[in-house]
Symmetry: C2
């Protein structure tokens, strides 16, 4: 899961060599996103070092990166623990996601190649037809991110990509916790294909509006959960 997952942007262009810090990051993040390390759990440096098979120095590095990712929180001089997805944090995550993705929609409305559109439609179609009963919430979340991540990629703007990645990590963390009660079978189908229609229209404002509606649908659904 750690190497073939597009979520992990860790330096993986290397020649198979993994730094010790990367090893620790991969293991710990995998445990968190799989729900093994539950929110609020304390992540002791020494325990994590023992678990991952490296020393405390690379563990500190890994925990720092995880904190930047929003998966871990730290009180200085006290310790690190798995982030608890509170209502407030989820709302904040959506505020940022809306900001990023609306901007992405505007940029792409300004100029998206037909080649890019083709690629996106190939992702959108199966995504809009997912059998919700057969997939876990986490899997669906990752599939969703795949589409939006590719969309953001096509802006060529890495700063937007990095910001979006964080919101997705947090979203997956929330889904991994498991107390999700929303009924996703009621979600609109064909949303992503319609979204693409609006983007290729070339009208920035229309594209933005469609994206905002798309995100708000997910937002409203989650607000009922928490």
């Amino acid at each position: 899961m750690s190497t073939d997952n597009p979520l992990f942007s860790g330096n993986e262009e290397n020649t198979g060599f993994k730094t010790a810090g990367q090893v620790a990051y991969d293991i710990i993040s995998e445990k968190i996103l799989a729900g093994v390390f539950e929110p609020g759990m304390k992540l002791s440096r020494r325990k994590m070092a023992e678990l991952t098979g490296v020393s405390v120095i690379p563990v500190i590095d890994a925990l720092n990166r995880l904190e930047e990712d929003g998966l871990v929180e730290s009180k200085p001089q006290w310790g690190s623990f798995v982030t608890t997805p509170t209502r407030k944090k989820i709302i904040e995550m959506y505020m940022l996601r809306e900001a990023i993705e609306c901007q992405v929609a505007r940029i792409l409305a300004d100029g998206m190649t037909s080649e890019q559109e083709k690629i996106l439609r190939e992702i959108a179609k199966p995504l809009d037809n997912i059998k919700f009963a057969k997939e876990t919430h986490v899997d669906i979340a990752k599939y969703h991110y795949q589409f939006h991540s590719r969309l953001t990629d096509f802006t060529g703007c890495s700063t937007l990509q990095n910001a979006l990645r964080k919101t997705s990590l947090f979203y997956i963390l929330y889904k991994a916790v498991g107390h999700t009660r929303a009924d996703y079978t009621q979600e609109s189908r064909y949303w992503h294909e319609l979204l693409l229609d609006e983007i290729v229209s070339g009208d920035k404002d229309r594209a933005e509006q469609a994206m905002r509606a798309h995100i708000n649908e997910s937002y409203e659904a989650i607000l009922k959960d928490i």
Copy 2:
């Protein structure tokens, strides 16, 4: 500069105690933002340790944070160096800033207290009347950030605040390099007060549009520079 500067969000709520990593971060970031460490300059771990008076471990921590801030870039297994503000990076920074601040404008249009408006107007007025000849570009950039940062604060959304902070750090880095040729005396006055007018109108779309225009003015001016 390190403790009274609102740009530095490092854990400064502590009881005067500074961790070694924080010491290193403060010193190195100050040198970078002051232009002493020029873009492209290699920041050797050992040299930085000697300079800051701490060991290499906290220096690594500081460099990691500086990389997250966008002030430093690293090639794994090779080293860290001061970020060079290329045209592409500046454009990307503006894309992110526009995304963040337009969202801020929308949120505040939805509900900003009169107390908050009062505070913002007290910052906006002198900002709109700055004597450009008497201030350095860096000082003006910091003053500017003070307004926009406070604006973002009032959304209560720390994720937007963190994202905005990065764009501002990069902007200041760019200004610190010094080859800025734009004539800022031609910039519109009263822009920030007018911006507040649009936000308090309560119309999200109007607020967003005004913010976008505000940022684009700065954007267009800088594009001529680079």
